[in-house]
């Protein structure tokens, strides 16, 4: 589970609870200029995720950590696919973040409004 908020000119993603152990991260701060958009995408968890390093993946339970796919690094922290939000980045270590949030619709609106 992640908490997504806007802090000034930054997008801050805080990894909550024990997930931060599996994800090897407790938070990520991304300048908004490097955020391209956010999308609620329950279907993404069914796609190939690539090779994990470091992090944890117990199929059906949790996908967390850094995954390498098609030359891109993707950060994952998802247990419940129905609440997955994809945040696309530019010029960052990660190409995209796939995180589980409480309210995907509200998170997408928060990020998209901060960008416009």
């Amino acid at each position: 589970m992640a908490l997504v908020r806007i802090d000034g000119d930054d997008l801050v993603v805080v990894i909550k609870g024990l997930d931060k152990l599996w994800a090897f991260k407790s938070s990520l701060t991304i300048p908004l200029v490097n955020v391209r958009g956010a999308t609620a995408d329950p279907g993404i968890t069914a796609d190939p995720k690539g090779i994990r390093a470091p992090g944890a993946r117990v199929p059906g339970v949790i996908t967390a950590g850094t995954f390498h796919l098609d030359g891109e690094k993707v950060f994952w922290d998802v247990k419940d696919p129905s609440k997955a939000v994809v945040i696309e980045l530019a010029d960052e270590r990660y190409s995209r973040l796939v995180v589980q949030v409480d309210n995907p619709r509200a998170t997408v609106a928060l990020v998209e409004n901060a960008l416009s």
């Binding site: 958009g37 995408d41 279907g43 993404i44 796919l69 891109e72 994809v86 998209e112």
Partner: protein, 166 residues
């Protein structure tokens, strides 16, 4: 240098026009887009940033293709009946859905929709040599007919009453 994109961006955006024009925004999932556009999920995000990014690209494409084509056709209209018929028979699915559904929630969409409607107004005003307000009223009528259908031939009833407008 990135790798070349393994899909036809132009074709994908055109397919998205059809998808977003036929269904509510929330009713189109990323799974639907991936399945219908022939685009991998990763490429979709890399190219458009988000579902909204793709939606905006599709809307702009719809305006550049379908609405532009309508405006070009309107330029040759010589009476209100023809103008009404051209607008009510045009493929404006995405524009109408955008106006009803996304424009109230998204300023960028609202601006695109507004510009498109003004372009149609202007095309009618120029073709029929009538004031912009009157042209806007005709556009409003045509969009109303598109939404409501044409019960009892309201279009004909109106144009018989209006022609000649000047």
């Amino acid at each position: 240098m990135g790798r070349p994109r393994a899909f036809d961006e132009d074709e994908a955006v055109r397919a998205a026009v059809g998808l977003f024009g036929g269904r509510a925004y929330d009713g189109v999932s990323v799974d639907d887009l991936v399945a219908h556009l022939g685009v991998h999920r990763n490429s979709l995000y890399k190219t458009f940033g988000s579902k909204r990014g793709l939606y905006l690209a599709a809307l702009r494409r719809h305006l550049a293709d379908d609405v532009r084509r309508l405006c070009d056709a309107l330029a040759a209209a010589s009476d209100t009946a023809t103008a009404l018929r051209l607008v009510t028979s045009a493929d404006l699915g995405l524009l109408l859905l955008a106006a009803v559904e996304r424009a109230p929630a998204d300023e960028e969409v609202a601006a695109e929709v507004e510009a498109a409607l003004l372009a149609i107004d202007q095309a009618i005003a120029d073709a029929l040599a009538i004031p912009a307000e009157l042209a806007a009223a005709l556009t409003a009528t045509a969009l109303g007919i598109l939404l409501r259908g044409n019960p009892g031939g309201v279009g004909t009833a109106l144009t018989q009453r209006l022609d000649p407008l000047h």
